[in-house]
Amino acid sequence: MKTRKLYTIIAFMATVIASCTKSGNETTNVVTPTVPASNPITPGNISGFVKGTLTTGSTYTITGDLTVKKGDTLASQQGVTVVVTGDAQINIQGVLLLVGTSASPISFNSDSKQPGSWGGFQCDSAQAVTIKWAHIDNTGGPDPTGSPRKTVYVNAPISVDIEDSWFTNGQDDLIRLSNGAKISVLRNTILCSGSTDGEAINLKTGVTGDVAYNVIYSQAGTGVKLETNDLVPIPQTNVNVYNNDMVSCGWRRGQAEPGRGVSLGVNARGNIYNNIMVNDYEGLEVFVDADTANTKYGNNLFYASQDTYQDTTGGGNLTISIRGNFYPSDGVGKPQLTDLISTAVGNMDPMFKSFDGKVATPNGASTSNDYHLLTGSPAIGKGNANYNADIGAYTSDGKGNQH
């Protein structure tokens, strides 16, 4: 069976993650595989049905929608540059395998480099999706009904590995995984996405796996949202969300639909630990319709770099208390003893290496914050050790975000 073979390949890849781990005196050196250049795709313009490998160092221009048929694979070696024109999208019915390296990442961007100028990866019925060390920028252009597209959309019970990649300036949901996908979303950086709506990582309908060590900055809606479909109560969405940084999220949708750092709703369950939430419209929200009995959370750090935010949209002047929304009043989530909850500016400051302190910023804005923790950060050593001894995406054991 072809599918099983593919899963085996992916499982193998997952075990050879590009990092070194230390445990006592034992050193493990993990070697990143090089994607073999079988069926190399000739550099230049590509469109229509494709299969094969984008070869290292080459530049490709996508001139029209690209489709990878069931059973076919589109692979990319490191250091490939792809320029997308004409709002095209990449449809994956087979296997997507993008494997860049830290030194030589892959890049997908549009020719205009404007937010929302190409369609992203529509992997609704894909067989497997792997994205590692890739820059995927300015996605989210309009779909056949005029609505913004998700950047990576999976709607099938397959393995999805999205690791060590950068995503900027998407328009709607950035990563939308649903329908039983088994996911590892690790060590990614997601910046300034969602125009006036969209979550950074939106998990629905029976998704299981881990979301960890990601940095999410200035998302229009929620950083990580867990839901089970309202008409399909099982399989439940059940995800571990740990050691992520969600900073300045949830403002662009406005007060009527504030975004959260993390939210759980409609029969979803999860373990929410060791996350840092700074300047989010609302922090951690557990809705009354979530599977509250089986949801666990704690060791999360909540901070506001200013007491209030003056929302002046539409000529109004509304004072939003950021600290008052760490656990929003319309949810059933309650502060935990293990949480680090700021009570004033300066108290429980996670001490990012650099942070401009901005609250609401536009879609597509530039940012240069560095979320490594300075020595003395209260997040260090206060994590739930089942996940990590530290809180936040950058941990002292080096397992965290590599960017």
């Binding site: 489709t67 309202d230 099982i234 007060q255 949209t313």
Partner: protein
């Protein structure tokens, strides 16, 4: 060729006359039963005059003020042999004749001139039901005119075995015949299939056909081989007004009001800035849309007091050139304002109750609709002689609809968090303005030729056109959030509500149009002969070819609010101060999955034999229909299917037996096979995401057409020409019925369930008591069974099976339906009144994806009233029509939870009618 009947009694009575000019008066009755014959055609020629008339309610006719001389009187009535008599009329004399027509039986032996039966009056309709070869229910123009109904949909819902399916807001209406959804039935005008102005289905909305244009409506519940086979439930044939046999002139006008607008105002918007064509149509596909390209005034809603509902009809018909040329024109104009207030609550599984449905959203809806119907029919026929006749009919129906919708929706579960206490939660407010124009035209040219005494040939050519244009469907959505704040710091203490400002969420603009053109040709050839001993036989062969071509085009734009410097979306104050960007500046025309061409070619042929004797009429034979059906997406779709071509051939046998137990009783037994073709858009695999729940609707290219076997028995009693009693049972078995189902719990798509059965009992009656009172009505019991694919959940055991089969009735099938009308008629005072009661039982409104539950439309009782009074000179009649006297609401429940309730309110009108 006129034969003198064998048995004729006539009396010539000369009476003293008081006037200067003479008169011929007569009474026509049936020979066997001595029953008056109402609506018989009487032609009087001679002395340079040609006059004609129709017998009245008492079977009598009269030619007054004619000069003395020699006249030939001929009388025709369907089901009876024609009759001719010569009358010599002296000056200042009255001649009175009594005529008995002989019941036909052996007369099929030879081809006759075309019988003339006035089906537009009620006794004509009953005669036609009695003499039809198949099982048919007919309602006449006379009954329609006197009823409370103003369009074909209103009329049909009172017919035996029929209910009407409406989409919310009381707009489009389609017939459900014997519990079978519109997809299993077909709709004809003057016996010809008509194209649909709908963008996705093949149905014709019946509410666009003004009742004043109708000559009658016939619902055939069994098929003969010469009828088209795609009618498992039955065929609705709307017969338009035909050329009369004498000069007819009619004008009517009425004014009315929808009482719902006494309680609330009518929501309206300006149509002046609506662009009829989309930007890509106007400026080409490379145009980059700008924010100012989108008008604002059609999203500026105003509350007004609407004007009255008005109806005006004018009809004129006559015959010229010695009766050879017939002409009829009728024009009907209706301008209606109606509205609905409803609650619409969506259900979702409650995880705390093992998935039992609970309300997930609470929505209030207010629709305000103005509908303008304008219909014109023109009919011309020319009889070259007794044996050759051609006719040309053109029907044009225009409907313009302007609808404003306001939906306020509070989510209770899901989304970005539900409510905590009643009155809180995220609230979205949705304003929509829609205008649509539908045009339906049907041009039919047909001829009938009696080739010899035994052979007859007829042919029909039809051009049928339907189009719909929805320019600038505009939808504005706003959202806000309502929370509680505790007033004294105690979290268990008193609280008050706080609400955020309304935010401008987005605007959708859609331009859509579709067109459907059919060209059809039909030819039939028949041979009739006597078999001796009052028996006769007819052999008939014929064929049909139809080519259909339709397209749908859609271009959609998404407008998003501009944001402030921090990227936050703006508050909404009014549409004129809202600022937006065009998110997809090129529109969706170049890649929209709703842009498609569909076609359907049908070639059919049949052989039919008809046997007739005094005790039995039998019609049977076989029809073969070959279908080529498919679609092609206009734009290349890399991820899916780009087109489908389907071919299938069906062999459809049928037999209709009618045992004439005696002159007033028929017993019918019938078998026929029929099919239902998938709707055009059912096959298109486009997906559309639901805005309100995490579901998608998707077409199914692998859908098979439905086949069925149908069995009927009906007992018919005709005690008098204006009375009847029908009692029937039927049984249907459908293979591959097409039903919508949720696949994997979330994909709503049409699928073939293995089979369905449908059976029922029908009773219908009309009875008059004494001179003044009558009662007419029908009762139907239906029972059907099919299977749904459902998801079964056992949350405690964490067990799910998404392919569980559940038995249920067909969607739309009611259990008990009762119609009873009480009639008062006083011929002398020209007074008529009708009180119509209707009870419609429970039916599945919508299938729910989870095992054990479905949405059920709740039983309804309706009451309507109409009355008319003829004024002294008999030309003028005043009338009134009252609908929905009980202010009935249309309710849906699931698991005993009320999920929707819609009220449309009382509707009434007063009018006046002139007839020559």
């Amino acid at each position: 060729m006129i034969k003198y009947p064998l048995l004729v009694f006539f009396a010539l009575v000369t009476t003293r006359s008081f006037c200067q000019i003479s008169e011929i008066k007569g009474k026509v009755e049936s020979h066997l039963k001595k029953e008056k014959l109402v609506g018989a055609f009487v032609l009087c020629t001679g002395n340079g005059h040609t006059l004609n008339t129709i017998t009245d309610q008492d079977g009598e006719f009269k030619f007054r003020n004619i000069p003395m001389g020699s006249y030939d009187i001929s009388i025709e009535y369907v089901g009876f042999a024609p009759y001719q008599i010569h009358v010599d009329l002296a000056d200042n004399k009255k001649v009175e004749i009594k005529i008995q027509l002989e019941e036909k039986g052996k007369d099929l032996a030879k081809v006759q001139v075309y019988g003339k039966l006035n089906q537009e009056d009620e006794t004509g309709a009953i005669q036609k039901e009695k003499h039809a070869p198949n099982i048919v229910n007919i309602i006449s123009a006379e009954a329609i005119e006197k009823s409370p109904d103003i369009n074909a949909a209103n009329v049909l819902k009172r017919m035996s075995g029929l209910t009407i399916q409406t989409n919310g807001g009381a707009d489009e209406a389609y017939p459900i015949i014997r519990g079978l959804d519109p997809r299993y039935n077909n709709t004809l005008i003057n016996g010809i299939k008509i194209t649909s102005p709908d963008d996705k289905t093949r149905y014709v909305p019946l509410n666009i056909v003004p009742s004043d244009l109708l000559g009658s409506i016939e619902v055939s519940k069994t098929l003969t081989p010469e009828m088209e086979g795609d009618a498992i439930g039955g065929t609705v044939n709307m017969v338009m007004k035909d050329a009369p046999s004498q000069e007819t002139f009619k004008v009517l006008g009425s004014l009315g009001y929808s009482a719902i607008f006494f309680q609330r105002k009518f929501m309206t918007f300006s149509k002046s800035d609506i662009q009829q064509q989309s930007l890509t149509e106007r400026y080409g596909s490379n145009y980059v849309a700008q924010p100012d390209d989108f008008s604002r005034s059609n999203l500026d809603f105003k509350q007004v007091q609407p004007g009255p509902n008005s109806v005006a009809t004018i009809a004129y018909g006559n015959r010229y050139f010695k009766q050879k040329l017939g002409f009829m024109v009728a024009e009907s104009f209706q301008n209606q304002f109606y509205g609905s207030n409803s609650i619409f609550n969506q259900a979702a599984p409650d995880i705390h109750a093992n998935g039992a449905p609970t309300i997930s959203d609470y929505a209030n809806r207010q629709f305000s609709t103005q509908q303008l119907n304008n219909g014109i029919t023109v009919h011309l026929d020319y009889a070259f002689n007794d044996r050759n006749k051609i006719s040309l009919t053109n029907i044009l129906l225009y409907t313009g609809i302007a609808q404003a919708r306001l939906i306020i929706d509070t989510s209770i579960l899901g989304g970005n968090g539900g409510r905590t206490v009643p009155g809180t939660g995220p609230v979205s407010t949705d304003y929509t303005s829609v205008t649509s124009k539908q045009l339906l035209e049907n041009v039919k040219l047909d001829g009938k030729h009696i080739v010899s005494n035994h052979f007859m040939f007829d042919w029909i050519g039809v051009y049928s056109y339907a189009a719909k244009r929805v320019p600038d469907y505009a939808d504005l959505s706003l959202n806000k959030k309502i929370d509680t704040v505790h007033t004294n710091g105690d979290i268990h203490g008193p609280y008050t509500f706080i609400t955020t400002p309304n935010y401008f969420d987005d605007i959708t603009r859609i331009w859509q149009h579709n067109q459907d053109v059919d060209v059809s040709g039909m030819a039939n050839f028949s041979y009739r002969t006597a078999l001796g001993g009052r028996k006769s036989m007819e052999l008939k062969v014929g064929g049909l070819y139809r080519h259909k071509d339709r397209y749908n085009l859609q271009d959609q734009y998404d407008l998003k609010p501009t944001t402030d410097a921090s990227g936050i979306k703006q508050q909404f104050t009014d549409i004129y101060s809202s600022q937006w960007i065009v998110y997809n500046t090129g529109g969706t025309e170049a890649y929209d999955i709703n842009n498609y061409h569909a076609y359907e070619d049908i070639a059919a042929g049949y052989g039919e034999a008809k046997f007739s004797s005094t005790i039995l009429d039998a019609v049977g034979g076989v029809r073969v229909e070959n279908t080529d059906q498919g679609f092609k997406l206009n734009n290349f779709n890399a991820t899916g299917i780009n087109g489908i071509d389907k071919k299938y051939t069906d062999v459809l046998p049928s037999v209709d037996l009618k045992f004439k137990l005696n002159a007033i009783t028929n017993l019918r037994a019938t078998y026929y096979a029929a099919i239902a073709r998938p709707n055009y858009y059912d096959l298109v695999p486009a997906t559309s995401l639901s805005a309100t729940s995490a579901t998608i609707t998707q077409g199914n290219p692998y859908l098979l057409h439905t086949t069925s076997n149908n069995y009927d028995i009906r007992y018919e009693l005709y005690p008098r020409t204006d009375e009847q009693l029908f009692a029937g049972v039927f049984y249907k078995k459908l293979h591959n019925p097409i039903e919508f189902a949720y696949i994997s719990g979330t994909t709503y798509m049409p699928v073939n369930t293995p089979e369905a059965t449908d059976y029922g009992i029908e009773l219908a009656f009309t009875r008059y008591f004494g001179k003044y009172f009558g009662i007419t009505g029908n009762y139907t019991y239906l029972n059907s069974n099919t299977t749904s694919i459902k998801s079964y959940y056992n949350l405690a055991a964490n067990y799910v099976n998404t392919d569980t089969l559940e038995k249920r009735p067909l969607q739309g099938q009611t259990d008990h339906t009762l119609n009873v009308s009480f009639l008062y008629r006083n011929a002398r005072k020209h007074l008529f009144a009708e009180l119509a009661f209707q009870y419609i039982g429970r039916s599945i409104g919508l299938v729910y994806p989870i095992y054990g539950y479905d949405y059920y439309q709740q039983p309804q009782a309706n009451l309507a009233f109409s009355a008319e009074k003829g004024l002294n000179n008999r030309h003028w009649t005043v009338f009134t029509k009252w609908n929905n006297l009980l202010n009935t609401s249309n309710k849906n429940e699931i698991n005993n939870i009320l999920v929707s309730s819609e009220v449309t309110g009382l509707n009434f009108s007063f009018g006046i009618r002139y007839e020559n």
